[in-house]
């Protein structure tokens, strides 16, 4: 079932491969020139948000689409990084450099995700999914109730936005939407290609074998728990990157970015894009965020439509948007 979802590159014909490269090139050109077409700062920020959430959905794809582990609260790890950076900048050092806070946010996420993941991979299937909810709600409760430090449900404000600089070479400021967009684009592109490379390596193949049949993978000598833990930490570290980017995009952190509905939204983006493709997650994030933006201008009861959309999607289109494109590619080669 799941194997038919993932794209098999080796079976593509040379011409299809050429089309693929052209498509990639065109997409990058569009992404680089985008701020010249969209001059409204609101939409520039919205597009940046899509890139960040696309990366988050992609990191969920690493554990869900490739390894077959379901996390309902993946956004919580993004929230941890965001709060770490926010609290550090507000209380400790307002002049902290961008790179240092990046390192700090991702390190804290890894330090938390490691023991939690170690515990979670001891179970599988349902229990794993239930545990992600329990731990996610625990982080949320802690943030929500520690009003003195995190600002509770009001959120954390007054986060100074640093300049984007390499050494003394200043590239821009994170308070400028266009600069943030390009910075986010670079970070997201690096993370994307790095993850793609990792997933095409033997490590990625092992993860897929665990997804297809855990018992058989164990029989041929794979340490299933260790690989699951590594995939989990990779996904959480990527979520941490998203958290740091998001903090500087917004200049504030709010607990709604790590509650249960935020976790569910990320899941929907991944699903909407299609499992096991990585790039599909970005399409899913785009559809979701624009869709939500559009529906919420018409009605405040967007939850009804969102829930309905998820159910219809799972029943009628389990392979997501990427599945449609892949079906098109397979057809065109015949």
């Amino acid at each position: 079932m799941m194997s038919s979802i993932s794209m098999d590159n080796s079976r593509l014909m040379p011409r299809a491969k050429l089309y693929k490269y052209i498509a990639w090139l065109l997409m990058f050109l569009v992404l680089i020139l985008l701020p010249y077409f969209i001059t409204n700062p609101f939409y520039q920020r919205l597009v940046t948000e899509i890139l960040i959430y696309g990366l988050l959905a992609m990191s969920l794809d690493v554990i869900l689409g490739y390894t077959g582990l379901l996390s309902f609260m993946h956004a919580a790890y993004m929230g941890i990084a965001a709060y770490t950076v926010g609290i550090f900048v507000v209380y400790v050092d307002a002049q902290a450099s961008l790179w240092f806070t990046f390192l700090l946010g991702v390190t804290v996420v890894i330090l938390i995700a490691w023991p939690v993941g170690w515990l979670q991979v001891r179970t599988g299937g349902f229990a794993f999914a239930l545990l992600t909810i329990a731990f996610g709600m625990m982080y949320y409760t802690l943030v929500w109730k520690s009003r003195d430090i995190t600002g509770g449900d009001d959120g954390l404000f007054g986060i100074t936005r640093p300049t984007i600089a390499i050494g003394d070479w200043v590239l821009g400021s994170t308070s400028n939407p266009v600069d943030v967009y390009y910075f986010t684009l670079c970070v997201v592109a690096i993370c994307f290609f790095l993850t793609k490379r990792i997933m095409q390596s033997p490590f990625g193949a092992v993860l897929e074998s665990i997804r297809e049949n855990e018992k058989r993978a164990a029989f041929i000598g794979v340490n299933v728990r260790r690989y699951k833990l590594q995939a989990w930490i990779l996904a959480c570290a990527l979520a941490g990157v998203c958290g740091v980017l998001f903090t500087y995009l917004k200049g504030s952190v709010s607990p709604t970015m790590m509650d249960a509905s935020a976790g569910g939204s990320v899941l929907m983006m991944t699903l909407l894009g299609g499992l096991g493709t990585l790039w599909g997650s970005f399409v899913g994030a785009g559809l979701f965020i624009f869709g939500q933006d559009y529906i919420s201008t018409m009605t405040e009861h967007w939850m009804i439509f969102m829930g309905l959309a998820v159910m219809l999607l799972v029943i009628f289109m389990p392979a997501g948007a990427a599945g449609l494109v892949n079906r098109f590619i397979t057809k065109s080669k015949d």
């Binding site: 079932m1 799941m2 869900l64 077959g68 379901l70 309902f72 515990l119 001891r122 179970t123 599988g124 299937g125 349902f126 229990a127 999914a129 239930l130 545990l131 909810i133 329990a134 731990f135 709600m137 625990m138 409760t141 802690l142 109730k145 249960a260 509905s261 569910g264 899941l267 929907m268 699903l271 009861h301 967007w302 939850m303 009804i304 439509f305 969102m306 829930g307 309905l308 959309a309 998820v310 159910m311 999607l313 799972v314 029943i315 389990p318």
Partner: protein, 291 residues
């Protein structure tokens, strides 16, 4: 003397919350045991029971009748859900069912907000339930005692159903080898839908019972769902005795937590769950059937 009152009341409160957890979690557990489906929308069905109860009581129906009618209405909703959503996707991997029922939860929560609004609603129990009575020399609200009695009664009838009747035999057999039950000429589709409706009815009953105690609001389903997941993991998925014990345990820890540490009570519950999973991965009785 104050200490005595406090102890008796706290013990009873622990039992009340534990009993409520039992009602909701056991439904999830039975459905999982037979259909291998975790219904994420189970909390929303609990909320639906409370809202149905509110409407029935608000239209002037006797609370006692509402107590029977609301669970039946939730069961009907459950039958529709099983037929329309779960039946066509029964052969899919478990991830799909989880996401599907997650979508159902979002949909139902949105619908509850649309129909009944965001505000907190109150169910008024009949007068004789609003009085207080004296247990071991300590005054105690009669309604809480009533909840305790109702959960004990449902617990007892559930055990009778599962251990002593033919329906119970089919249910126990279907949870071990469904193919064998099917080949013996029992309609498994009927078993699946029946069990699902039964679990939903229990959730609905829990909802209307909890309504007067905790008030009725849209988020109540989500909160209960998360507590029930903790109960299921601690007790072991698929183990009825384990879940019964775990419901009382979590009810106790949560009640004591709210008494002594208030804000971070839930954190203690989650940490306890993590520890139990670490040392007893199949639940406290080691009977869990995790997949």
């Amino acid at each position: 003397m104050d200490g005595h009152i406090f102890i008796v009341q706290t013990v009873l409160n622990c039992l009340v919350l534990g009993g409520l957890f039992f009602l909701i979690a056991i439904g999830l557990n039975i459905i999982y045991g037979i259909s291998r489906v975790i219904n994420i929308a189970h909390g929303s069905l609990y909320a639906l029971g409370a809202y149905f109860g509110y409407t029935l009581v608000a239209t002037g129906l006797n609370f006692m009748f509402a107590l029977i009618l609301a669970p039946l209405m939730v069961a009907i909703v459950g039958i529709v859900i099983e037929r329309v959503i779960l039946l066509p996707t029964r052969d899919r991997p478990m991830v799909y069912t989880l996401i599907l029922t997650y979508g159902l939860m979002v949909f139902m929560d949105g619908l509850l907000k649309y129909i009944w609004g965001d505000q907190i609603l109150f169910i008024h129990p009949p007068d004789f339930l609003s009085e207080s009575l004296t247990i071991a020399g300590v005054p105690y609200p009669f309604y809480r005692f009533f909840i305790l009695m109702a959960t004990v009664a449902s617990m007892a009838s559930l055990y009778m159903l599962i251990e002593k009747t033919k329906v119970g035999i089919i249910m126990r057999a279907a949870s071990t080898i469904p193919e064998m039950v099917y080949s013996l000429g029992i309609d498994m589709k009927l078993v699946h839908v029946g069990v699902f409706a039964f679990g939903c009815a229990l959730a609905g009953l829990g909802g209307i019972i909890a309504g007067p105690l905790f008030t009725v609001y849209p988020m109540m389903g989500g909160e209960m769902l998360i507590s029930c997941f903790v109960v299921l993991v601690v007790g072991g998925l698929g183990s009825i005795k384990g879940v019964t014990l775990a419901a009382l345990l979590i009810g106790t820890v949560q009640t004591l937590g709210f008494v002594f540490i208030t804000d971070y009570a839930m954190v203690i519950v989650y940490v306890m769950m993590a520890l139990i999973l670490l040392f007893m991965p199949k639940g406290i009785l080691g009977e869990g059937k995790f997949e």
